[in-house]
């Protein structure tokens, strides 16, 4: 069976020393334009359950007394199969199990989904397969089980290495448990263990943050994600801050924390390859890069998002798709229709380009001209952003050269303040390049490709 074969090969690849990756799927090089390569996509699988809700989290997660895992597994497998068929994707570049707390799922469930992926498309043996894990559900034994199921990369939600901070965040684990989990993970997934840390907690000082960071540096492997705490509406933590029980962290302090972290990690040999992500020895996350590079991705599970062309039903436009949010409703949909897509929106060429811009600029590589050209064959980066005296470039926020358009380090920290202007510029250039009457059959968008063109590969 193809799927079994994949697991064996994957196990061999994982056993290779260092960050073993199959050639051609490594993140360092962008894949060949989809027109030439076989249609490829990454797969995101959402496990919606948690044992406890963290005080800062507003994700689509659910706390239930007992999860009917067999039913959820069957639906995940079914939906994976259906959506891969629908996308007609031939090759899968990466798989990511997120949540929720997917490390609460049994290794058997993970294995079943991976087998469904490998059964419906080519999943190269070295393809990155990541599992998000909480330190409280990651004993060595469980981790070994996940590894046997096909997981070859772990992303551990450490969040902090201070017990008081962990309590404020509503985490289930202690700093010691987090440490033990990371060590166990590194033993099983050497070079392929990532940790998440949160900074900018109410009352956290710059000194406390640099201390945590130093401790994390002593513990970590080759990938770290540093997230500034976002006070999401409706969370317990946001309510405490809004109610005045906790102070709002000052803007300038947050900037200092970010700057300090960047300096520390770069000095330790890490590449700051995305706003919140750092890697050394080439251990970038292939899967997450696929979002920022505006590649195709297929979302499986309750509330999962996808961006792909549903070629299986004759579609030739990229769609933004969202699965039904609530797990029970999602399962009912999967059981009756084979998938639980709750919303699908066709993205116009301009909308696709807007995503290319907003996401690509989050990375240090920015937007290379080849990628831009794939989405906008007739309106170049220079045509849109290259106007002489372009203020953002003059002021040192952006660079536009042969390598494409990207942020400077200074610009990256204020990207969200730059983007509205850049989007306005894009919209203006787009409108100017496509003059004439209202949209109709006669009108040709500068980026529009007639029929099922190469924009999304075939």
């Amino acid at each position: 069976m193809a799927a079994r074969g994949w697991r064996r090969a994957a196990a061999i690849a994982a056993a290779r020393p260092g960050p073993g990756r199959a050639p051609g799927v490594g993140p360092a090089s962008e894949p060949a334009p989809e027109a030439a390569a076989p249609a490829a996509a990454s797969v995101y699988v959402h496990w919606p359950y948690c044992r406890k809700r963290c005080s800062y989290c507003n994700f689509n997660t659910y706390l239930v007394p007992a999860v009917d895992e067999a039913a959820v597994r069957a639906c995940l497998v079914q939906e994976t199969h259906t959506l891969l068929q629908l996308s007609q994707v031939k090759s899968i570049t990466s798989v990511f199990f997120g949540g929720g707390t997917p490390s609460l799922a049994s290794p058997g469930t993970i294995a079943a989904v991976l087998e469904a992926v490998a059964g419906a498309a080519h999943l190269p043996a070295g393809a990155e397969v990541t599992l998000e894990a909480n330190p409280s559900s990651t004993t060595t034994q469980r981790l070994a089980g996940f590894k046997a199921a096909g997981i070859n990369r772990l992303s551990i939600g450490v969040q902090s290495l201070d017990d008081a901070e962990l309590r404020l965040l509503g985490r289930e684990h202690t700093a010691t448990e987090a440490q033990a989990a990371v060590e166990a993970a590194r033993g099983l997934f050497p070079g392929r263990t990532s940790i998440d840390l949160i900074f900018g907690l109410p009352r956290q000082s710059l000194g406390a943050w640099t201390q945590r960071l130093e401790a994390a540096l002593g513990l970590c492997d080759d990938h770290i994600s540093l997230y500034q705490l976002t006070l999401e509406r409706g969370t317990a933590l946001a309510a405490q801050v809004l109610g005045g029980a906790l102070p709002v962290p000052p803007q300038d302090l947050l900037a200092d924390m970010y700057q300090a972290a960047r300096t520390t990690l770069v000095a330790a040999g890490f590449r700051h390859y995305e706003v919140s992500n750092f890697a050394r020895k080439g251990a970038l996350s292939t899967h997450n890069l696929s979002y920022w590079r505006a590649e195709q991705y297929i979302g499986v599970g309750p509330g999962a998002h996808g961006r792909f062309v549903p070629r299986g039903e004759g579609g030739c436009s990229r769609e933004a798709r969202v699965q039904v949010l609530e797990p029970i409703a999602w399962m009912r949909a999967v059981q009756s229709r084979g998938h639980g897509t709750g919303k699908r929106v066709m993205l116009s060429p301009l909308e696709q380009l807007e995503e290319v811009l907003a996401l690509g600029l989050r990375t240090d590589e920015g937007i290379p001209p080849e990628r831009w050209g794939r989405f906008s064959p007739h309106l170049s980066l220079e045509a849109v952003f290259g106007a002489p005296g372009q203020a953002l470039q003059q002021q040192g926020w952006m660079v536009l050269d042969d390598g494409g358009l990207r942020c400077t380090a200074r610009g990256l920290a204020v990207l969200d303040a730059l983007l509205p202007d850049l989007l306005c510029q894009l919209q203006r250039a787009w409108a100017a390049a496509a003059p004439g009457p209202a949209p109709g059959p006669g009108r040709k968008d500068p980026g529009a490709v007639s029929g099922c063109g190469p924009a999304e590969g075939s």
């Binding site: 900037a255 706003v275 919140s276 509205p420 202007d421």
Partner: protein, 634 residues
């Protein structure tokens, strides 16, 4: 504020007959027979009403007077329900307030009329309710409406802050003392719950006299309001002080001497309902081919061609108190805005309008308003009814300067000039004296707020003229205010510090000499034309500092540092610094975050297009007006 459970008290009283009404006239009709007593309005739109079944003695024209938020519109809703004018449903809220802005703000801006039919002791009455606005800015609308009435209902909220403290006995005593209205003429009602509202109708019939006039006389109709309809032209609201009017009549305006042919007459219920005729004593509308509202001058008298009458005294025209510049956000919108302004001023003749232009803002207008609320309401109506977004400059009052420079005097053709635009403020060197407009303000307040109110008035450079205890609890204060000190937010401040109890009214009190200067606000060295203001020199430092501080809160941080300065000439008198962003990027942006993220970014990109750019600084369009509105606690 909710009206729930409010115990309100009412009285209806006789008012001296309208001074402009003809002397006693005998009703030409006999009491109509039973058949004529049927309500003929029950088939709206189709059959025209025969208004001759309502002889003058069966007519009552009245208005309701109350303070803002004392529940006048709620009472009007109940009266309309009880008389069957509108169906009784839970949705009847502010039925007479037709404008969106009125409903949103819970205020009445535009006076409305409604004819109610009510049977009392076997007689059918026609009761014409003329609703009036409550805010001091709109007092001219009130005086207009009253001229069409023979009596009024005064609504007094007998509620104390807390519902448990409703104290009708005390309020009755106050009313007796203040207005000489006997306690037994008060009706205690709750309009919210409908309690005793029927009794109000009976009192109206018993206590308010019918209009005194005669259908046999020549036509004499007072224009007390007008509106503009895109299809039918001007609709003039009229009160007949004599004669009758019907389709085909040729009428003349006493004011313009222009002749018109009547196309339609009718009553308001509260929507227009055409009738065969209108007769002496009745209130309704006339459509007669007038193309502009200015043709239906408020206060004008209409009479029949070749049957001229002595015109009614009319009204003083509304006098603008506040001026502000209005400019299109984008100059390409100039013509659209022009047409919107023309249409809106058709329905609001109290707004004055002059073309104006500015270096920074391009071509626009300088508008005169009755007050700040009037200005805000006008602006809101532009947005809501005409979908226009505009730049509005800081409001200013009409200052004067006595010029000393011979050159300037020659230029203006006179020594005394009126300044309604800070950009035209003449330099001190060429001026012998600046003058500011003043008003005599009357405040009535429960005594416990006197201390705070005196401090407020002193802070506004007001001079006390009088102080009188009306009863053991209430005080009436009279102050001479510089007008600019009250136009912005004095009313709000007063209401706020007196928990809504203090009332305020004012009248013109001429000009006084004042030490005035022009203050500019600069953003990174570039003047913000919207915020240039003429102020008293004693207030410059404090005002400049406050404006800078508030601008700092109103302008979002940007990619560079922003210096916010107040300047008099070249001298900087206040400065705030808005630091640059150092970090502004969302931490997490993966598959599920992207849609949400893009939506937000695109909304921000759209917002950028509407931002006002001053130099390189982007300012949200509502920032300036927010900055200008003072808060009493600041």
């Amino acid at each position: 504020m909710a009206l729930a459970g409010r115990t309100a008290m009412w009285w209806a009283r006789l008012r001296s007959p309208c001074p402009c009404a003809a002397p006693l006239c005998l009703p030409p009709w006999l009491l109509a027979g039973p058949a004529a007593c049927e309500r003929l309005y029950s088939s709206p739109g189709k059959e025209k009403l025969d208004m001759s079944t309502y002889p003058v003695e069966n007519i009552r024209n009245f208005s309701i007077i109350a303070h803002v938020d004392h529940g006048k519109s709620t009472l009007a809703d109940r009266l309309l329900e009880i008389t069957g004018t509108i169906a009784k449903t839970a949705h009847n809220k502010q039925v007479l307030d037709k404008l969106q802005v009125e409903r949103e703000r819970g205020i009445t801006v535009k006076a409305q009329s409604a004819s109610l039919f009510y049977s009392h002791e076997g007689v059918n009455y026609l009761l014409n309710l003329i609703d009036t606005p409550g805010h001091v800015d709109f007092s001219y609308e009130v005086s207009r409406s009253l001229s069409a009435c023979q009596g009024v209902i005064l609504v007094v909220d007998a509620n104390e802050i807390d519902l448990k403290h409703a104290d009708p006995e005390r309020v009755e005593k106050q009313i007796e003392k203040l207005f000489d209205i006997p306690i037994d003429e008060c009706v205690r009602i709750s309009a919210k719950q409908g309690t005793n509202v029927e009794k109000v109708l009976q009192k109206i019939i018993e206590k308010i006299p019918p209009p005194q006039c005669n259908t046999a006389d020549p036509l004499k109709a007072l224009v007390f309001d007008s509106t503009f309809d895109h299809y039918r032209g001007v609709i003039a609201n009229i009160a007949l002080f004599g004669g009758e009017i019907q389709k085909g009549h040729r009428i003349v305006s006493a004011h313009t001497k222009k002749r018109y042919e009547v196309n339609e007459v009718g009553i308001l219920t509260p929507n227009e309902q055409s009738t065969h005729k209108l007769y002496a004593g009745q209130v309704g509308y006339v459509i007669a081919g007038m193309k502009e509202v200015t043709e239906a001058q408020i206060g004008d008298t209409l009479f029949l061609h070749k049957q001229p009458v002595e015109p009614l005294p009319g009204f003083k025209s509304a006098k603008p108190m506040v001026f502000a510049g209005m400019y299109p956000v984008d100059q390409t919108e100039y013509n659209n805005l022009k047409s919107a302004l023309e249409k809106l001023t058709l329905n609001d003749s109290s707004v004055t309008i002059h073309r104006d232009s500015s270096l920074a803002l391009g071509a626009g207008w300088r508008l005169g308003f009755l007050g700040l609320l009037h200005m805000e309401v006008f602006n809101q109506r532009l947005e809501q009814e005409y979908n226009m977004s505009v730049i509005l400059t800081a409001p200013t009052v009409p200052y004067k300067a006595i010029l000393s420079s011979a050159k300037l005097i020659k230029e203006h053709g006179k020594a005394e000039i009126t300044i309604i635009n800070p950009a035209q403020f003449p330099d001190k060197i060429s001026v012998s004296e600046y003058l500011e407009p003043t008003v005599l303000g009357t405040i009535v307040t429960p005594q416990e707020y006197i201390g705070k109110i005196i401090v407020l008035c002193q802070d506004r450079r007001a001079v006390q003229k009088d102080m009188l205890y009306i009863d053991e609890h209430r005080v009436m204060l009279k102050y001479l205010f510089p007008l600019n000190e009250i136009v912005l937010d004095f009313y709000d401040a007063l209401k706020s510090l007196s928990s809504g109890y203090a009332s305020f009214d004012y009248e013109d009190a001429g000009y006084q000499a004042a030490d005035l200067i022009k203050m500019d606000i600069l953003l990174n060295g570039n003047p913000v034309e919207e915020l240039a203001t003429i102020i008293h020199s004693d207030k410059a430092y404090a005002t400049g500092k406050r404006l800078c501080e508030r601008l700092k809160d109103a302008i979002p941080r940007q990619l560079f540092e922003i210096a916010i300065q107040a300047a008099i000439g070249k001298r900087i008198i206040a400065r705030e610094t808005l630091k640059a962003y150092r970090k502004n990027v969302v931490a997490k942006c993966y598959g599920g975050d992207i849609t949400r993220r893009m939506k937000l970014l695109k909304r921000q990109a759209e917002g950028k297009k509407l931002m006002r750019k001053i130099g390189n600084v982007e300012v949200p369009r509502d920032a300036f007006i927010r900055v200008l509105k003072r808060e009493p606690d600041k």
